[in-house]
């Protein structure tokens, strides 16, 4: 599905500084960008370029030192921590490089967790979990624990967990970083399929060739700044 003209995310002159001992580290330095609804954006850059910091800021896991971040016209920088939690629960879904599934829970319980946090009624949860798990084609593994799943299956489970609350934006931090090449491609294909259903995706990666194959737009960061921003050739 093609991106719409409607803005999903607007980042306005965002700076994020960290104090590391006596040194001030500028992880994001006056970053501005617009992401339209339905776009599949890849944030590229080497380690320490600020791409994960930007993703965390868009996710509402972190707050900017200055500037504004709008998600569907709501400024995250001005939200209370309670509202930021709601933003993470309802507006965005997040997948991580290390999957971050809770090891003592089954796949079904892991996927159900965001529904518990969002206080979704119990009788609705089962259907929502089945829907999300079917979307990532893991229905046969519902009762398995993460240790009983392959890396690709774990990342698909993490994707199902990110999608179960029906967010409008999916944020992925190096989703193929822990996977072999073939499995990584499978996950990327799944992400593109999800994007084609209308979901905005912002993905952090350092794998430029793969990003070029799957994403619509690539933003290159270096030293906390955006150095290039353009559609895939």
């Amino acid at each position: 599905m093609a991106a719409t003209d409607k803005l999903a995310i607007r980042v306005e002159h965002v700076t994020r500084n960290y104090q590391m001992g006596s040194t001030l580290v500028r992880a994001a330095d006056d970053v501005s960008l617009d992401i339209r609804a339905g776009e599949f954006v890849a944030l590229l850059g080497s380690s320490g370029s600020g791409k994960s910091t930007l993703l965390n800021l868009i996710a509402g896991l972190d707050r900017p030192t200055s500037g504004a971040i709008f998600a569907h016209d709501r400024n995250l920088a001005e939200m209370s921590s309670e509202d930021l939690a709601k933003h993470r629960s309802h507006t965005v879904g997040i997948v991580f490089q290390a999957f971050n599934l809770l090891p003592r829970m089954t796949l079904e319980e892991n996927v159900e967790l965001p529904l518990r946090l969002a206080e979704v009624e119990r009788n609705e949860r089962t259907a929502r979990v089945r829907e999300a798990v079917e979307r990532v084609r893991l229905s046969a593994r519902l009762t398995h624990r993460p240790t009983e799943l392959s890396g690709g299956e774990q990342q698909r489970a993490a994707l199902a967990r990110a999608l179960v609350n029906r967010p409008t934006i999916l944020l992925a931090d190096e989703p193929t970083g822990n996977l072999d090449s073939a499995t990584g491609d499978e996950i990327m294909a799944l992400l593109r399929e999800i994007n084609e259903s209308g979901m905005t995706i912002v993905m952090v990666t350092h794998e430029q060739p793969r990003a070029e194959r799957f994403a619509h737009r690539m933003i290159l960061m270096k030293d906390g700044k955006i150095v290039s921003d353009g559609d895939r050739a």
Partner: protein
């Protein structure tokens, strides 16, 4: 997050580190058990003392004396509104009027007089005391050898152990034996006796003898009198004591009255139905022109003593619980370190700080609840063991069994509530620390 989901997640987390959490819960249980054992001992001893004291009849009794027109010991008396009432003789009429008052169960005179008893040809001077039939239920006669009086007019005697030892080194052999009671009987004189200057009336003192059968020996002192003054060593039925018309110390006062042949009592004991009515009966008797007092104040002081006793036992018992609360803090802080990444994941998935805080609170609360319930059970068992040990000792001393510990329902509820409260208080710091965790930092944690 909803309460049920919180409880499920907390339960899952507690099961995850089952050994550590069980040990922490056991620590709380030991603390609660120590508290319950201490308090149950305090409450049990208080119950025991209250029961024993109420059975003595001292706390539902009002002691009535004729109002004397002279100062007693301890200097001038304080102003008393009842002092304006005319002093009345404490005679049979007064006894009937007092008996007719509301909530009065029984009125009987204090009869004790000096005597000389003869046993196997030897004289033994002692004091006789009349014992009402209602004294049968008093704790003082528990564990006595032999039996209580067979009837109110039976010519029977119960010996206090000191007197029994004087009579025979084999005190048990005295049961069923006869003694002769020699006493001074008061006999009224004709109105014209005494010569020209006589005010008329009066009485003479005549020596008398009465045979009594020894039916019991008691080790306590049921007729000790106040402060042990005039201890009655030979106990006889009150009705028998009254019919003997033995001369008593107030007879000289009777002789000086206008009606010397009309007998008065030195004091009356009024048994009131329920301790709550004692004050009203006491006031009514004072209004009738008699002196009256009760031991309610002593009872109140006893309650204060036990309240302080319970307080100190509670403080000592709580110390273990305070130590256990440090265990909760330690366990939960360790859990935060271990579950740092999980807390980050929860926050990334939409958990608010409040949810994380409540999750740790529920975990502390669950440990407190389980520890409280288990601790009450252990405390109850300790109480039973104390009771058992005490009664084994008492039975070896040939004493009746008693209950020195008690775990009433209010204590069960209070101990569990206290355990939960202490656990939640201990959970405040770890829960706040977990809630404040930076999710980005937490997710980076390996």
């Amino acid at each position: 997050m909803k309460v049920r989901d919180l409880a499920e997640l907390a339960g899952r987390n507690l099961r995850e580190a089952v050994l550590r959490n069980s040990l922490t819960t056991l620590g709380i249980a030991v603390g609660v058990a120590s508290l319950v054992a201490m308090l149950s001992l305090g409450v049990g001893l208080q119950n025991l003392a209250s029961e024993r004291l109420s059975r003595t009849g001292l706390f539902d009794a009002v002691f009535v004396t004729p109002r004397a027109n002279f100062e007693g010991f301890g200097g001038p008396r304080q102003a008393n509104p009842a002092a304006a009432v005319t002093a009345q003789p404490l005679d049979e009429d007064a006894r009937s009027k007092i008996a007719a008052l509301a909530n009065v169960g029984e009125v009987y005179p204090e009869i004790r007089f000096p005597t000389e008893i003869h046993y196997e040809g030897n004289p033994y001077p002692t004091i006789v005391a009349g014992v009402p039939a209602s004294a049968r239920g008093d704790g003082a006669f528990d564990g006595m050898k032999g039996a209580f009086f067979s009837g109110p007019s039976a010519d029977e005697a119960i010996l206090q152990i000191d007197l029994a030892r004087q009579l025979s080194s084999q005190t048990d052999s005295l049961l069923g034996k006869e003694i002769v009671l020699r006493y001074a009987e008061r006999q009224p004189l004709p109105a014209d006796s005494g010569g020209g200057k006589s005010a008329g009336g009066g009485f003479s003192i005549v020596p008398r003898e009465e045979k009594l059968r020894i039916i019991g020996i008691v080790e306590t002192e049921p007729a000790a009198g106040f402060g042990g003054f005039g201890r009655g060593r030979l106990l006889i039925p009150l009705q028998v004591a009254e019919t003997l018309r033995a001369a008593q110390s107030n007879d000289l006062r009777d002789l000086l009255r206008d009606t010397p042949t009309r007998r008065t009592y030195e004091s009356l004991t009024v048994r009131v139905k329920g301790t709550s009515n004692v004050k009203a009966v006491e006031d009514a008797i004072k209004q009738m022109g008699f002196g009256a007092f009760s031991l309610l104040d002593a009872s109140r002081n006893l309650s204060i003593v036990f309240a302080v006793f319970d307080l100190f036992l509670g403080i000592f018992g709580s110390l273990a619980l305070v130590v256990a609360s440090l265990g909760i803090i330690n366990t939960l802080v360790m859990a935060i370190l271990e579950r740092r990444r999980e807390i980050g994941v929860l926050k990334a998935l939409g958990a608010a700080d409040r949810d994380v805080r409540r999750l740790f609170f529920v975990e502390a609360g669950v440990m407190g609840t389980l520890g409280g319930i288990f601790g009450v059970f252990i405390g109850w068992l300790i109480g039973r063991a104390i009771n058992f040990g005490t009664n084994v000792y008492l039975s070896r001393q040939n004493l009746p069994a008693i209950k020195v510990t008690a775990v009433p329902w209010w204590m069960v509820a209070a101990a569990i509530a206290f355990s939960i409260a202490v656990s939640l208080a201990a959970g405040i710091y770890p829960a706040s620390r977990a809630a404040r965790l930076d999710p980005v930092e937490a997710l980076r944690y390996e």
